[in-house]
Amino acid sequence: MSLYHGIFKRDMQIAFKQKAELVQPLMFLLMVVTLFPLGVSPSPDTLQRIGPGVIWIAAILSSLMAMERLFRDDFQDGSLEQYILSGMALPAVSAVKVAAHWLVSFVPLLLLSPLLAMFLNLTVDMYVALVLTLLLGTPLLSLIGAIAVGLTVGLQKGGVLLALLLIPVFIPLLIFATSAVDSAALQLPYHAQLAIIAAMLLLATALAPFAIAYSLKVSQN
């Protein structure tokens, strides 16, 4: 078990050495959310109605920016080869790396969510629903996103292609998450939506590491 702990510690150390790369997607998220009151209208009730959609769309877009960092450095400087050569199970290695990535880039997003809720004038129970959907949804973003990152890591201009690949796949998550927060606004129960997101998350946790390992091998070749 200490092998994978070593990789986790290494990723954490690298992440804290490159703080700027972590802060930038968050600033992007904040700015995108700030554009909506300026673009649409500052009146509190319109903001409340479009709030959940705005936050989730901005979260998906900013996650696409942060996603690329996942394997890019390791691929370019050859550490990925050394992982494969060390005989460790690649699915387990990618699962650990995705967990480290989630901790480093999505947990700060959760910490920022009260500010976003305040900007878009969400009520308290809407905010609770938002945090629940983010808690369940963002690991899903990381896991599925890592598959596409594994595939495009070998390409130079992988950035936009990543968005093209991932946005369609994230649509179900967006639909269920925003509908959960909307029904929270109307004081309706939203356990059904949460259950569906949780189901998607469990499915991804089970299958994605193997898909990530395979996509890394494909781009390694």
Binding site: S2, L3, G6, I7, K9, R10, Q13, I14, K17, Q18, D73, D74, Q76, D77, G78, S79, E81, Q82, Y83, I84, L85, S86, G87, M88, Q220, N221
Partner: protein
């Protein structure tokens, strides 16, 4: 004993080599020679199972390496073009993480000695991206003396070394072969006699 039988590999519609068979016994140094683009690196990567050949298999002690990887990888050390060191970590951190992954436990002053051996005194705790490309390759090379591997597959190991470094590497190659190790290496300049007895294998450039 490393054996390649009937390897075929093509890169972007150009067949690099076809039906290539090769046997390397323990205690032997194979010097892979050939012009640029002849497919030396691809052959080495196929020997390490990083790349799969279109046809043919590679056996290590009779077992197909694409099937049972962990046994083969325990005994393998591969030095590629990429240094395998992360830029924002220091040489020491990179080495200690790499050793942890390869299940080798070594104490810190051994790391300092090895880095001194490759001429990186005083640069041990500097983030690797501040080192020159040659120094980064020497950090990658220093892992050679840390992991007790039987099979050494080295891709252009001499590029970053000065005269003293080349002499030191060739003598450790000689001891490794003497101790029953197995080495496959490529190099631009020919191996001098300090590297001991070695077999040459030529790879022509195919159009």
């Amino acid at each position: 004993m490393l054996e390649a039988c009937g390897l075929t590999c093509s890169k972007r519609d150009r067949t690099l080599f076809e039906g290539l068979s090769l046997v390397i016994n323990a205690g032997e140094l194979l010097y892979l020679r050939g012009p640029n683009g002849a497919g030396k690196t691809s052959l080495l990567r196929i020997l390490t199972a990083l790349n799969e050949p279109e046809l043919g298999t590679v056996l290590y002690n009779g077992i197909d390496i694409s099937k049972d990887k962990s046994g083969y990888y325990q005994a393998l050390f591969y030095l590629g073009h990429k240094s395998g060191t992360n830029g924002s970590l220091s040489a020491l951190d990179n080495l200690s993480f790499w050793l942890a992954q390869h299940k080798v436990s070594v104490d810190v002053n051994a790391l300092y000695d090895v880095l001194e051996k490759v001429g990186l005194v005083g640069l041990e705790d500097v983030p690797v991206r501040y080192l020159s490309a040659g120094q980064q390759r020497r950090v990658a090379l220093s892992r050679l003396w840390l992991k007790p591997a039987k099979v050494w597959i080295l891709d252009e190991p001499f590029t970053a070394l000065d005269v003293k470094g080349i002499h030191m590497l060739e003598s450790s190659m000689k001891d490794h072969v003497a101790k029953g190790g197995l080495i496959v290496t490529t190099s631009h300049q020919p191996l001098s006699e300090t590297a001991g007895k070695h077999r040459v294998f030529d790879l022509e450039y195919r159009f």
